[in-house]
Symmetry: C2
Subunit: 151 residues, 2 copies
DNA sequence: CCCTAATACTTTAAGCTTGAAATAAAATCC
DNA sequence: GGATTTTATTTCAAGCTTAAAGTATTAGGG
C-alpha cells in the first residue's frame, strides 16, 4: 500500500482513530461503572465543572464537551438529582443558568478523577514522551486549521 | 509545561484526541444528515456490510464496530425497515443470523460513501503523507500493545 | 445419550443524544 | 421606547446505546 493516495490514507487513518477512541471509551466506561458506579457523560460534565473552579454557564458546558444544549440540561439534571451538582440563576443576565459541583460532588469527582487518570495512563502506557510529542504536533496542526473539527 | 510527567501528558493527550474525534463525528453526522438523510450508526453498519462483500454474522458486526449486540440488532432492524439491509438465517448453525445489504442498500451506500470520503478528506486536509506516517506509527504502537483498546 | 456449559442473538429498561420547537430575556433597530 | 431579532436555556420526540435478562441452539463431559 505504499502508493495509496492522500484521500484514501486520510479516510483509513480517520477510521483507525475512531476505532481507537471507541475502544478506549468502552474501557473507561466499564472502569467507571465497575469502580465508581457512574457513567462517562456524568464524569465528563463533572470534569468540566471541576476544571472551572466555580459556576459555569450551561452553554459553556455543552460547548466544551461538544454536545447539544439539551444534552447538557439532561445530564446536569441527573447530577442534581444525586446532589453532585447544583444550578444557580445567573446574576446579571436572567436568561443564564450557572452550574457548579456541590461539596459532595467535588469530593466524589476527585476520587473518580484520580482513578480515571491512572486508568488512562495504563491504557496508553505504550506511548512515551517521543510519541506524545509527535501526537501533540499532529493534534496541534489539526486544531489550528481554520475549519478544525474541534472548533 | 516542559517537565510534565508522563501520566499527566497521557491524560491530556487522550482528552485532546477525544475532543478531535467528537468534533469530527459531529461534522460527519451533520454532513450525512443534511446531504443523505441518514445517521452515523446506520452509515457505519452499512459500511461494515459493504466491506464484507457478502452476508455477515450479527456478532461480527458488533465486534467490528465495537458496539453491543443489542445495538447491532437495533440498527440492523431500522435498516431492514428501509429495505437497505436484509437478514438471512445462518446455514449450518441455526443460532446465527446473517445480514447483508440489499441491492438498494448497496447503491445508496456507495453514493453516501463517496461523499463521506470526500468530507473526511476535507476535514483532514491539513495532514499530508508525513503526518499520516507519524500517526500510522503511533496507532500501530497502540494497537499492537497486548491490552490495546481496539481489541 | 443427557446434563451442563457455552455461544448467538433478541428483548427490555434505563440512560444518552440529537435536532427542532418552545419559552424567556436581552440586544438592536428604527 | 416599541417591534424585531438574537441569545440562553428547556422541553420534546425520536433514535442511539448499554447492561442485563431471556430464548434458542450447539458443544462438551460424564
Amino acid at each position: 500500500m505504499r502508493d495509496t493516495d492522500l484521500p484514501t490514507r486520510r479516510l483509513r487513518t480517520w477510521l483507525r482513530l475512531l476505532r481507537l477512541t471507541r475502544g478506549t471509551e468502552n474501557r473507561l466506561r466499564e472502569y467507571l461503572r465497575v469502580n465508581h458506579d457512574t457513567t462517562l457523560p456524568r464524569f465528563d460534565v463533572m470534569a468540566a465543572l471541576h476544571r472551572a473552579h466555580g459556576p459555569v454557564k450551561m452553554s459553556d458546558v455543552s460547548r466544551q464537551l461538544l454536545v447539544s444544549n439539551g444534552n447538557a440540561t439532561a445530564v446536569v439534571e441527573r447530577l442534581e438529582k444525586e446532589a453532585l451538582a447544583a444550578r444557580v440563576p445567573g446574576e446579571g443576565d436572567r436568561r443564564v443558568v450557572l452550574v457548579a459541583l456541590t461539596e459532595k460532588g467535588r469530593a466524589v469527582f476527585e476520587a473518580q478523577a484520580a482513578d480515571h487518570k491512572a486508568e488512562v495512563d495504563r491504557l496508553f502506557s505504550m506511548l512515551g514522551h517521543e510519541e506524545l510529542n509527535a501526537l501533540r504536533d499532529i493534534l496541534h496542526r489539526v486544531e489550528e486549521a481554520g475549519d478544525a473539527p474541534t472548533g
